[in-house]
Amino acid sequence: MPAREDRMVVLHEQALEAMDRLLAKRPQKEGHAFSEATRCLCALRDELIRRQSEAGASSGERERLERLNAVISVLVGGHFPLGSIPWDEIEKARAWIP
């Protein structure tokens, strides 16, 4: 596997694991697990953007980036919620990580 693809796989794994830790913990008042998951997802997003900038984006990759951005939006909304933390939506977002 090329090194670049390798890095994507690692970042993808880290993002899933961070989301799983967040969902297992479901913190109400401290944001560390949210921050950690956010940072992992953003690292994955940034790598995806970097690859697309260098090589051009296929429609599949573009869609992958859109889904990732949507997941990050939901996660940020959970970290800084209006009212209750939308855990159900965060759970759904976990399944959406491309």
């Binding site: 944001g31 940072r39 940020v76 800084f80 919620p81 209006l82």
Partner: protein, 859 residues
């Protein structure tokens, strides 16, 4: 004020302050920060009014007032609650006004439990989520939708009106004997706010407190009125909204709303802060207070959104007309019935995207780029080092200003660089610093404190490449539309559908700002004819309007009412109807139906404003009536018909933006932290809460993390109360005046004000170096030893308060440490506004050693 009265804005014209018999300035140093408005207080004083200043510091405002009442920062609710108790227990309230125009007689659900019964927590509290469910706060058997006002979208709780408000009036007990009527709840709630308790909490001597309470009560009633003026000294707390609520209760009880010289003035800190709320730069509102759709509410389709947000009763029942007209203004032909008027183009909220949480999100790498217009967060935002940390995570940053500001050179001169925590080479943010035109170099409007939209004309051409913000945004939009032209991707549809066709003028292709104002005012789609009033707006796509409350500002082609400058003469009515435009409807005093009694007669000759003219069959007077002009005072809803909208409000219901037309002394819906204000200590406090085991607002938005730690209550390492403030000589974030030699020399460097007694205790002399510290950081600054700040005796303990202007940074001629490096990021429960007025710190004589010593500190 939005939840209490229906609109989140100052209720009177500034010149109406001169008509007051008592004026209380609290949470503001008005003489120094709002000097133009303050002249109306001095005019009132010349006419015999009593002026009162309640503040932790003795300032120029205090010096010009009749009574100065010192209070410890963050204890305003205890002080105001004490006045409420005084008014209720001594039967000093304006009974005819409050019984008719407030919800004082309404009966609340039996399950309601007060904070007094639950050690500082109201019923409905979810401790795990730190929020409230408001079912027990409702009128008995009703579900009351809140008024659509500022920060309406801050809650996820459904405000859908089941229609119960159309079924009949809320149950009331006009005898006020029912244990769950609002009057009895208020009495129980404030029973412990005695003068002695006020003194123990606030540090204000009870004799001084009583002078204030008696002066206000004495100057309220049919013949007399009083007004409060506040600024960010009230809003910059975790209980900021509830401080204003306490004032609103008081003014409702005393009949000081909607009447000459009676009201609440929300003094805005910048020239057009009111305007940037009306046509908002806020994340959670569309223009003129329409709620931003939310991805997690029942807002999936436009019909869902309207169903969720449109109340059955009151003026806001017209909401769909304003929303469709807005979408027509924005998307033109792209807003059609078959695509829900372009509703899907609008971005949906997923959470709190206001400045504080977004600063934290920046530090987490969420945000890729940022535009900064007219702001300087590296100095002006709390926890400024964490702000720098976030800025350093961006890919790109665009700063537009007319002089170099700290936010644009943080990568080179910022505190983190100076401390050696990072280097310019390690910061990857690409910064674009673009020259901006100054106010006199562009046409446009300001909307001031009293909702007054005033047009100003360009005086001279901006030099070189300096351009107006309008020019920049307009041409950026044009280039983006060109860049995405031809795209069929759904994500690009909103940008492409946006109407973006303002006429351009001159070689610089400056867009015509009056064209923007005409669009905000609104027009009929078929012929482009200007609309004269918002009553003409429709929900069928035939009208377009960028901000319904501004309808009338440009009512006819060639008639910019905001440009009008004709004052009343000495013998005129004094409402100055031809001086600019005040929203809504060029109305100067909001809720002015309340200036007449329930039968429509002025409460007194001395305080008359609006009254019912039986002969003409309409409301008349010296202002534009805030009411249906022909609605008789004796009109009553026909409940058998389940009336909607204004048909559900009677001729004696002045607060038409509320679902029941009443001033909400008790708020059933719309607040995240309780239906009544109650005293909590600030998050950082040197003392325990005397009233409750609950120390601070349990619903405050707290975001602790490394670099954003909070000082624990009574932490002996941080024994002093710390507050920040502005200076007359240096404007806001400071740069416009710190780069100008003639203003910079008036306040040449940063300082901290220290009470003489504390300075003596610590061995600090005037102009000595001192070090201030919190868990966020340390700064060094010179001492201003002064008697303007006095020690407080809080429940038997001496507590010192110190204060520092927050307007300094490392750029310009007048430099100094940014006070905001000491502050932390947490927010008011309702608005997410930061706390700058009440926290704790340590103070010692001496200096920081390198590398903590900043180059801006001087020798």
């Amino acid at each position: 004020m939005g939840t209490s009265f229906g609109r989140g804005a100052g209720t009177t014209a500034l010149w109406d302050l001169a008509n007051a018999d008592c004026l209380i300035v609290m949470g503001s140093n008005m003489a120094e920060n709002h000097p133009v408005a303050f002249r109306f207080l001095l005019e009132a004083k010349q006419r015999g009014a009593t002026l009162i200043h309640v503040d932790p510091r003795f300032t120029r405002t205090s010096a010009l007032c009749d009574i100065y009442a010192p209070i410890r920062s963050g204890t305003d609710i205890a002080f105001l609650g004490g006045i409420i108790r005084h008014v209720l227990e001594n039967d000093l309230w304006f009974r005819d006004f409050a019984l008719a125009y407030t919800n004082i007689a309404d009966i609340i659900e039996e399950g309601y439990e007060d904070a007094e019964e639950k050690d500082g927590i109201f019923s409905g509290f979810n401790a795990a989520q730190a929020n409230y469910e408001t079912g027990t706060w409702q009128y008995k058997g009703k579900k009351v939708p809140s008024s659509i006002a500022e920060h309406h979208a801050e809650s996820r709780e459904s405000t859908r009106d089941s229609g119960s408000m159309s079924d009949g009036p809320p149950p009331k007990d006009p005898t006020l004997q029912h244990p769950n009527c609002v009057y009895q709840i208020l009495r129980r709630h404030f029973a412990r706010y005695t003068p002695e308790m006020v003194e123990r909490i606030t540090g204000c001597p009870k004799e001084t407190f009583m002078k204030v309470a008696e002066a206000l009560a004495r100057n309220s009633g049919p013949e007399r009125t009083g007004t409060f003026c506040y600024a960010v000294g009230w809003t910059h707390h975790t209980v900021g909204v509830q401080i204003i609520r306490a004032c609103s209760i008081l003014q409702g009880l005393l009949g000081n709303i909607g009447r000459p010289g009676g009201g609440i003035q929300a003094l805005r800190g910048h020239s057009s802060i009111q305007g940037s709320t009306d046509i908002p730069t806020l994340y959670n509102m569309l223009p003129t207070y329409l709620p931003q759709p939310d991805a997690f509410k029942s807002h999936d389709t436009f019909q869902d959104y309207l169903k969720e947000e449109t109340p059955a009763t009151g003026w806001w029942h017209n909401f769909p007309k304003y929303m469709v007209s807005l979408l027509k203004a924005w998307y033109g032909p792209g807003a059609r019935p078959d695509n829900d008027w372009g509703y899907d183009f609008l971005p949906k909220l997923t959470g709190d995207h206001s400045q504080l949480p977004m600063t934290l999100a920046m530090a987490d790498g969420v945000v890729k780029g940022q535009f900064i217009f007219g702001q300087n967060p590296a100095v002006g935002a709390v926890n400024s080092e964490l702000v720098e940390h976030g800025l350093a995570k961006l890919d790109w940053l665009v700063v537009r200003d007319f002089a170099m500001v700290e936010t644009a050179d943080f990568w080179q001169k910022g505190r983190r660089v100076q401390k050696g925590e990072t280097t310019p080479a390690q910061i990857g943010t690409e910064v674009f610093f673009l020259p901006a035109a100054m106010p006199g170099e562009k046409d446009g409007s300001f909307t001031n404190t009293s909702r007054l939209v005033q047009w100003h004309d360009k005086v001279l051409e901006a030099a070189g490449d300096n351009r107006s913000d309008l020019w920049f945004v307009y041409h950026l939009g044009k280039r983006l539309k060109q860049l995405y032209a031809g795209s069929t991707a759904r994500r690009d549809a909103a940008l492409l559908a946006l109407t973006w066709d303002y006429p351009e003028r001159g070689e610089r292709r400056e867009p015509d700002p009056e064209a923007v104002l005409r669009e905000i005012n609104g027009y009929t789609v078929a012929d482009g004819k200007q609309i004269e009033k918002y009553q003409e707006l429709k929900d069928d796509g035939s009208t377009a309007c960028g901000g319904w409350m501004y309808c009338g500002v440009y009512p006819k082609e060639g008639h910019n009412q905001a440009r009008s400058r004709i004052p009343d003469g000495p013998d005129g009515p004094g409402s100055h109807m031809n001086w600019a435009f005040a929203w809504p409807s060029n109305r100067r005093t909001l809720y002015n139906r309340a200036s007449a009694d329930p039968q429509g007669r002025p409460w007194s000759e001395r305080k008359k404003m609006i009254w019912w003219d039986e002969g003409q069959g309409k409301w008349t007077g010296t202002d534009v009536p805030d009411f249906i002009p022909t609605k008789r005072p004796d009109m009553r809803p026909d409940w058998s018909k389940h009336p909607k909208g204004m048909d559900a409000l009677g001729g004696d219901d002045p607060f038409i933006m509320e679902a029941d037309g009443k001033c909400q002394l008790f708020v059933p819906t719309g607040l995240r932290d309780g239906p009544l204000p109650t005293h909590y200590e600030p998050v950082e406090s040197p003392v325990r809460n005397i009233l409750y085991g609950q120390q601070h607002n349990p619903t405050a938005k707290l975001w602790p993390r490394p670099g954003n730690e909070f000082n624990e209550p009574e932490d002996p390492r941080f024994p002093y109360v710390f507050t920040t403030f502005r200076l007359t000589e240096l404007h806001c974030g400071g740069i416009p005046t710190r780069v100008a030699p003639h203003t910079a020399e008036l306040q040449p460097e940063a300082f901290v004000e220290i009470p003489t007694e504390l300075a003596r205790e610590l061995g600090i002399r005037h102009l000595d170096w001192t070090v201030l510290s919190t868990r966020r950081g340390e700064i060094e600054v010179k001492a201003m030893v002064t008697n303007r700040l006095r020690p407080f005796v809080i429940d038997g303990r001496t507590i010192y308060q110190i204060g520092m202007p927050w307007v300094f940074g490392w750029d310009g001629y007048a430099r100094g440490a940014p006070a905001n490096a000491l502050l932390s990021i947490y927010g008011d429960a309702n608005t997410s506004i930061h706390t700058t007025k009440a926290l704790t710190c340590n103070l010692r004589p001496g200096r920081l050693g390198p590398p903590g010593r900043m180059s801006h500190a001087g020798a």
